[in-house]
Symmetry: C2
Subunit: 670 residues, 2 copies
């Protein structure tokens, strides 16, 4: 058969990938199990993924040809079908299987803030409110959303301007959008779907402002879905990605809702308009942290793992230019510059995976403490999760784009899967806490800890190093010295200490010289952000090392993970060299040695690269990439997908409208 008759039949694995998988230095399945958290977890995940892939209702084929509306429609269909499946299979809606389905569907589902709507009711509603609203929402008899962000206000919740004014004469709240900046803007599910929404509004009663509270407001008719009187609601329009989500706007003109629609577990308004707080709502603060923790694995790391899989496999198949004169064109993965782009990102996937596991454990411990009314660890948990959210989203989104560019021209085609991964994951730098804002919150915690250390107060584990600075510089002299985790961990610790100490001292000096506190803080904020990044970077290295130490005794897997840990750490030193040199912890000569050690590791890990991404265990259906398929038949896939393009199946209307009048049309052949 001629080559251009592309066959959809099962194809042989490209010999260039076969050779990468021969003689593995470690057991790939073992590594997959470690990533999943156990053999049994791998089994369950695979079962769920395979169920999703085989189910025709869930089909996500041709996603790159779909319009925004078709993506939205598909997401709604997927969500409702997913609920059915979960019930059929008897799974827990908030359990791991639901998470695996979500990942298997690449997040192409809707009703995400419908879930937040329900969680808010459960957390902040009274028992009566829960009893009234939850069954309706659970069965989709009403469709909720969560309307917090406004046109003029995102990060700074206290600045929100929507008002809820209590009217004691009717026992109602009047919900109003008093000016344009108060227009609700961005909430998902609001644009086209939800019938009800949880409005976050400034509570006013008897002329006094009691701050932000949540109110349930119906916005669309349950009969015909038309907006209720006084409501303007719609889709905010196209975004960089998330075509499946109907992010919306909402204007409310003096809408009246019954008093009972204010969630009142922790605070309520009495019939006479007086305001009563009951108990602490600190637990509420916790839900924001929970979301940050959950997106790290499901959205953020997932994207980098996929991008690494695609770009590493493609780099083992793509041959380009000349290395040895006269030889066949080499695999681009054999170029040192390509290894330098990709292999540190593969290492970052593992570093961040272990970090997320650590954060999850920490989170669960604090959650249990809080249930015992012990809030001591909340500040540390907040700093840890805020820092890791900012650190990991930055690494992962920049990393996905590096992977994309490393695939050259084909990385620019949507068929590579990479552009969509990037345009989606980059949003995570902004949502759930803008990264710079988060880093400054972490820095505030670090500065406090630093001051506490000065006065001899004991520090929480993650910042304990701030009380015991290293006096001397690094003693290592050979490349092998730098493959010692104690050596590089100490370097990261010193960097984080010195950057924190120097920012904290600057702040102190400014204040002592008479500068107002808020100006001093602002004038130090570039350096404070740097300190926060260095702190999170240090923690990831520390966590990677201790994960390595606590692995079961499997020498092959341990050895490759040790190489990855070394590479992760040394790469960070090479790329942020200034921080390590500035205060003299490393000398220029030592940096040369680090570079030598780093380049040596790159060459070693090049051999493991394909297997290290195979261990992420994505199916072709999850990757949706012509470049990243397991069988490596990239050119056949690209051509096959181009031929499937519906636009190629019809004549070009522009020929008749614009081109024909110009063409030399008296001959079909010139």
């Amino acid at each position: 058969m001629a080559w251009w008759k592309v066959s959809a039949a099962r194809r042989d694995v490209n010999p260039d990938l076969v050779s990468e998988r021969e003689r593995p230095s470690f057991n790939v399945e073992t590594l997959t199990n470690i990533l999943d958290g156990g053999v049994e977890e791998t089994r369950i995940r695979r079962a769920v993924v395979s169920l999703v892939i085989k189910d025709p209702v869930f089909s996500r084929e041709y996603i790159y040809f779909k319009t925004r509306f078709e993506r939205y429609e598909g997401a709604i269909r997927n969500s409702l079908h997913m609920q059915k499946k979960i019930k059929e299979m008897g799974w827990d809606e908030n359990g791991r299987e639901a998470e695996y389905i979500y990942r298997a569907l690449n997040g192409e589902i809707g009703f995400n803030t419908h879930i937040v709507f329900m969680k808010t009711i459960k957390a902040l509603g009274t028992d009566e409110q829960i009893a009234k609203w939850m069954p309706l929402a659970m069965d989709y008899k009403i469709l909720g959303s969560y309307a917090q962000t406004e046109l003029g206000h995102g990060t700074y919740l206290r600045g929100l301007e929507t008002t809820a004014t209590f009217d004691p004469t009717t026992q109602e709240f009047i919900i109003d959008t008093p000016q344009i900046t108060a227009t609700k803007w961005w909430p998902g599910d609001l644009g086209k779907t939800s019938t009800h929404t949880m409005v976050l509004a400034q509570l006013y009663s008897n002329g006094q402002n009691y701050g932000m509270h949540p109110f349930i407001v119906q916005i669309r008719s349950l009969k015909d879905h038309s907006p209720l009187p006084g409501i303007s609601v719609g889709d905010i329009g196209p975004k960089m990605a998330f075509e499946n989500v109907d992010n919306g706007y909402l204007i409310m003109r003096n809408i009246r809702i019954p008093k009972e629609n204010m969630l009142s577990r922790y605070s309520q308004v009495l019939p006479d308009g007086s305001y009563v707080k009951s108990g602490s709502d600190k637990i509420n603060y916790f839900s924001m942290i929970a979301v940050r923790v959950s997106i790290l694995r499901e959205e953020v790391l997932e994207a980098l793992m996929k991008a690494c899989t695609i770009s590493v496999r493609y780099s083992a198949v793509r041959r380009q230019s000349e290395l040895k004169p006269g030889d066949r064109e080499p695999k681009i993965l054999d170029y040192q510059t390509q290894q330098h782009k990709l292999v540190p990102l593969v290492a970052s996937c593992y570093a961040i995976d272990f970090t997320i596991k650590y954060v999850n454990t920490f989170y669960n411990n604090v959650f249990n403490e809080i249930r015992m009314e012990n809030f001591n660890s909340l500040p540390e948990l907040h700093a840890l999760t805020a820092g890791m959210k900012a650190f990991a989203t930055e690494i992962c989104s920049n990393g996905v784009e590096v992977c994309r560019k490393a695939c050259g021209g084909h990385g620019y085609s949507l068929y590579s899967g990479l552009p969509s991964l990037y345009t989606k994951v980059t949003a995570s730098c902004t949502y759930e806490g803008e990264n710079t804002v988060l880093h400054l919150q972490v820095a505030r915690f670090l500065v406090k800890c630093f001051a506490a250390a000065q006065s001899g107060t004991p520090l929480p584990t993650s910042t304990a190093y701030l009380s015991s600075p290293s006096a001397s510089g690094c003693q290592a002299t050979t490349p092998v010295d730098f493959l010692n985790p104690e050596v590089y961990l100490k370097a990261y610790e010193c960097r984080a200490y010195r950057l924190t100490a120097s920012a904290a001292r600057k702040l102190q000096n400014l204040v002592q010289s008479g500068v107002e506190q808020y100006l001093a803080w602002n004038s130090s904020s570039v350096e404070l952000v740097k300190a926060s990044i260095a702190h999170s970077h240090f923690l990831t290295v520390k966590i990677f090392i201790s994960a390595l130490n606590s692995l079961p005794d499997q020498p092959d897997v341990k050895a490759v993970l040790k190489r990855l840990c070394d590479l992760y750490a040394l790469h960070g030193i090479v790329t942020s060299a200034g921080d390590f040199l500035q205060h003299g912890y490393l000398s220029g000569k030592q940096l040369d040695v680090v570079i030598t050690a780093y380049l040596g590791l790159l060459a070693e890990l090049r051999k493991d690269a394909v297997l290290l991404v195979d261990a992420f265990d994505f199916t072709d259906e999850q990757l949706l990439s012509a470049l990243g398929m397991y069988d490596g038949n990239v050119y056949h896939s690209l051509l096959e997908w181009a031929l499937k393009n519906p636009e190629n199946k019809k004549a070009n209307p522009v020929f008749h409208t614009y081109l024909k009048p110009y063409l030399q049309s008296n001959s079909s052949k010139l």
Copy 2:
């Protein structure tokens, strides 16, 4: 009138922007003239832009709601209309007005490779070939494209696999796509438009391969536009951007074309199949350089300038969080972290603008030399343009994304204009020479120059510094010292020298120790790329300083440009600190001083920021950004555009298909 009745009437300028424009420290118009290259140029540019904006055929409104096909159709319409306008106005098709139209249309035109098709005929065709084909192409009686890149081959031209085999019996060439990797892939205008294409193919005659040559191949009927027999052609599918371009694929199965269709100015095949070269085609090499030079201003810098305009204006209007307790929410531009993100990018716009002007002058000089058959400066021109292409595309595309993220959530909406700027400009890192490949070409030039310097051979201007290394470290001690251009230029020079010297020596040592040359090169390539970046960075600082020195005597404009030049240079030292510290040119203490000087400049330039982007002089129609309009009414624009969204003007079909069956539909109000 209630605020939600948004008025399309002319609005007042937002007071937050008015205050930024009061009491300017310099004359904005003078700066605009400098950027344009003279008062007269500003006048012409504005006249062209205003003509384009007023012309209803050129309308680019609602671009964010258009499908790929509508974007393509619009581009074809724009192009044909632009040709008409150019003829009407009597402008030069390759002149400045055409460039201004292109920029005014944000590149939303087609037929880009139709132009390359013509340029190739003019450069490589015989007089008869030019006489035959040019008039047809000029009048769009045939539509050309340029088919070079293949599925399996991009950067490495020698690797292309399409064949053109001479058949002396019929005096024809047989053009063939012998295997899947030889499929032409990516050429613009090929997917849906062109009737003819310039096929780059391996010439075979009498069983011998004579390398790459260009052949004119008709691919579609002029009568009905259907593909000719033996041709498979179509669109390659959706990409990250460039929705207006029909990038295509092309498979040719033993297509026969007349012998005369091989462009034969410099080489031809005689009737008996013998191959004759006549004259040098070095000039051809030049056209690749010309394209690289032209995209820098039209595509690459343009994108960063627009992104800076949008994000700086928005940052002067957006108010968020709390700086001084109790005060009104401050403009986000008042946060040091925001200034740190944006102001260095504004400075980069100016640095790159001056650099492009320098590169253009250099290019024109070499062009004139080459016409005199003097090819001496070609290697330097190649290194200069390759380096600047790689350097500027990286700065500009990363910079656009920084601007986008700095606008928070709204930067993620297409209405901000920023996502489209990014997804488009990032392609420039790959097309017209992949950046890593280009940096390695520059490095090869640097290593050669370094070796020449060792043996006392004089060096070209741009690398002269490689023959006179600085022996001592930097002597500066105060922040003011570091505002001396001689001081920071020397620092950049030493950095570039030391990185080149260290990579060249490593290479030399490896070869002397018996490593094969090609392996030694590959093992040094990460460091070689670093040297190339440092070299281009040094040149931009040098060019900025000398542009400053040659400005006419206008103290206000000079003063602000001096601040920008200082900021550009010091920002580079702060962000690449490791390079400056590693070999001891700067000490850690000096770096602290540089940081102090840098942060001081940030605060000073914050006052000029809005005016510095106003000077770029974009109209609202060019920016297509709800966040970046001159009047700063960002929230009204966002809401206005959302209301225009066609999807908001119809009911949601998903209500009937999926939602209604679930809803508690016996009551319209719960």
